[in-house]
């Protein structure tokens, strides 16, 4: 069992759905919380990529295999199908080309979990409509000129991109205020989304 009590909601869902004993690449793995949970709870062979050196240092100090690098550039060095599962949490919107990163994800991994903030969340829409300025919210707390999120997208955008790339969506989960919500009206109601995808 994975102790998911301390993980962010999307990571807890991923931790529950990654099969035991598989090979996992966690892209943008942060301080390695998910990797450590998968390693300790499911005997997963987990590898990570993280751009922030201080976070990599913490990963290495907890015995994880994490490479300091940039997913836009460094994914290319992993062989085809090297992993059973690739994880990209809250990172797709920071990619130089999210479409290419998604393709890369499913080149190195047979399946992938992808989570991202939903820019069509009603609070976003309302903030943009009422104030006419880029929203700064609890979930996206950084001003437009400082944010690393250079490709804002919505649930519907992602679904259409997956269709265009021939990627099959296996599962989807939606979250608001760190609680899972149902799929009805998700493009309005979800603060962020998690998709499980595989090569079509």
């Amino acid at each position: 069992m994975v102790d998911a009590s301390t993980l962010r909601s999307d990571l807890a869902v991923i931790a529950r759905h990654v099969p035991a004993g598989v090979r996992v690449l966690d892209i943008g793995c942060g301080d390695g919380a998910l990797m450590a949970a998968l390693r300790d709870g499911k005997q997963v062979d987990a590898r990570g990529i993280e751009i922030d050196g201080a976070l990599v240092e913490r990963c290495v100090a907890r015995g994880l295999s994490v490479v300091q690098g940039d997913a836009d550039r460094d994914l290319a060095f992993y062989p085809d199908g090297a992993f059973d599962v690739a994880i990209l949490s809250q990172t797709l919107q920071t990619a130089a080309r999210p479409d290419r990163m998604l393709a890369e994800l499913l080149r190195v991994g047979r399946r992938a979990f992808v989570s991202f903030p939903n820019f069509a969340y009603w609070r976003m829409r309302w903030a943009l409509l009422s104030r006419g300025r880029m929203p700064v919210t609890r979930h996206l707390p950084v001003t437009w000129y400082e944010t690393e999120n250079i490709h804002h997208m919505t649930v519907r955008d992602f679904e259409e991109l997956a269709r265009d790339l021939g990627i099959a969506i296996e599962n989807r989960w939606f979250f608001t205020r760190e609680r899972e919500i149902g799929p009805a009206g998700a493009n309005w109601r979800a603060e962020y989304a998690l998709f499980e995808v595989r090569r079509g």
Partner: protein, 368 residues
């Protein structure tokens, strides 16, 4: 004064990349901490170009503390309460292992008759030592700079001998710039009339001036410009005004001269030639058909060693790009690898100096 190192004499001739074999080679080594009954807790620390086996004990010539005492010892990141640490003088060096200053079979010093060796030859010697000590698989092999080259060479050529490979501030191949700086050093030694084509051992004078210049030039490559500026700036040495002469007016000149002359008291000039040559010959990809990933094929998914590479942002001798090159090859080979570029002001020498983040990475990697 420290007790003399233990010495292991290789029972078999040591085969060399140059095609020759070294008969009766000796390897001097130091150990720290208890070896577990199952011999599973041994860590081999590999030293750098001018390093030696005295990693955590006083140097017998200079009396200075071991070169990595801040990293190796009881309660240190490489904890000798927990691990049995072995550090051996490499073949070709001059602190008790067989090198150009040692006696050849005819009783006279080898000098330039000593065969040219490679990093892989040094590693073969170290592996023979491990065989002699009955250690089949190291808990880890650790090294910085040329020590890191040995860790990578050991991983490539003897993939079963270490469970963890920690390579710090290093490279898998010497660049044109690396070779160029070494050539300056070698030419400085060879231009010293006291060098006498390497046959200076029976004379009163050794090529100290040449060796000191070699050390001075190399020392600059170990430091960062910012570090030099902070430490010395344009400050003058023990004077208020420039002398309009060629004394060591500047503190940085005085420092380099001190480093150079101090070095000649503990190091053999011919060893410096041979070891720099070995580093220049290093190209681990070339040894394995040209593709670095193939060198690490023995570490594919689920078997072999875990790797950790560390670089420093101010190291221009073996810059981060060289570590990344190794990391990408390990990724391609499917090996479990960690990599981090640490921020430290001291240039290449950062691996020897006070960098707390390095301590945390080393401890975390070895204990994890």
């Amino acid at each position: 004064m420290a007790a003399p190192s233990l010495t292991y004499t290789l029972p078999q001739p040591l085969p060399l990349d140059g095609g020759q074999a070294l008969e009766g080679a000796a390897i001097a080594y130091e150990t720290y901490g208890e070896l577990a009954a199952d011999k599973s807790n041994a860590i081999l620390v590999c030293h750098a170009l001018t390093g030696d086996q005295y990693v955590a004990s006083p140097h017998p010539v200079t009396g200075k503390p071991g070169w990595w005492e801040r990293m190796v010892g009881p309660g240190k990141p490489i904890d000798t309460n927990r691990y049995h640490v072995i550090c051996a003088n490499v073949i070709g060096s001059c602190m008790g292992s067989t090198g150009p200053a040692s006696a050849a079979p005819d009783g006279r010093p080898w000098a330039m008759r000593f065969p040219v060796i490679t990093i892989r030859d040094m590693v073969r010697g170290l592996v023979s030592l491990l065989d002699g000590l009955g250690i089949e698989r190291l808990h880890a092999v650790v090294g910085g700079s040329m020590g890191g080259m040995q860790t990578l060479s050991l991983a490539a050529n003897f993939p079963d001998r270490a469970a963890r490979v920690l390579a710090i501030a290093t490279t898998a191949r010497h660049s044109a710039q690396n070779i160029a700086f070494h050539e300056v050093g070698r030419q400085a030694i060879m231009a010293d009339p006291n060098w006498r084509d390497g046959d200076y051992y029976s004379h009163d004078s050794a090529p100290d001036a040449g060796l000191a210049v070699a050390r001075m030039a190399a020392h600059i490559t170990y430091l960062s410009e910012a570090g030099l500026t902070e430490k010395f700036g344009r400050r003058l040495q023990d004077r208020d005004a420039k002398s309009f002469g060629f004394d060591a007016d500047f503190q940085v000149e005085s420092y380099l001269r001190y480093q150079g002359s101090g070095f000649t008291r503990r190091f053999d000039a011919n060893s410096y030639l041979y070891i720099t040559r070995a580093m220049d010959y290093l190209d681990i990809a070339e040894e394995h058909g040209g593709k670095l990933a193939d060198a690490f094929a023995g570490h594919a998914m689920g078997k072999g060693a875990r790797f950790c590479l560390v670089s420093f942002d101010t190291d221009w001798l073996y810059p981060t790009a060289e570590s990344r090159h190794v990391v990408h090859a390990l990724n391609a080979a499917g090996a479990p690898v960690s990599f981090v570029e640490l921020s430290a002001p001291f240039g290449h020498d950062s691996f020897l100096l006070d960098v707390p983040a390095l301590d945390r990475v080393v401890k975390g990697f070895l204990d994890g």
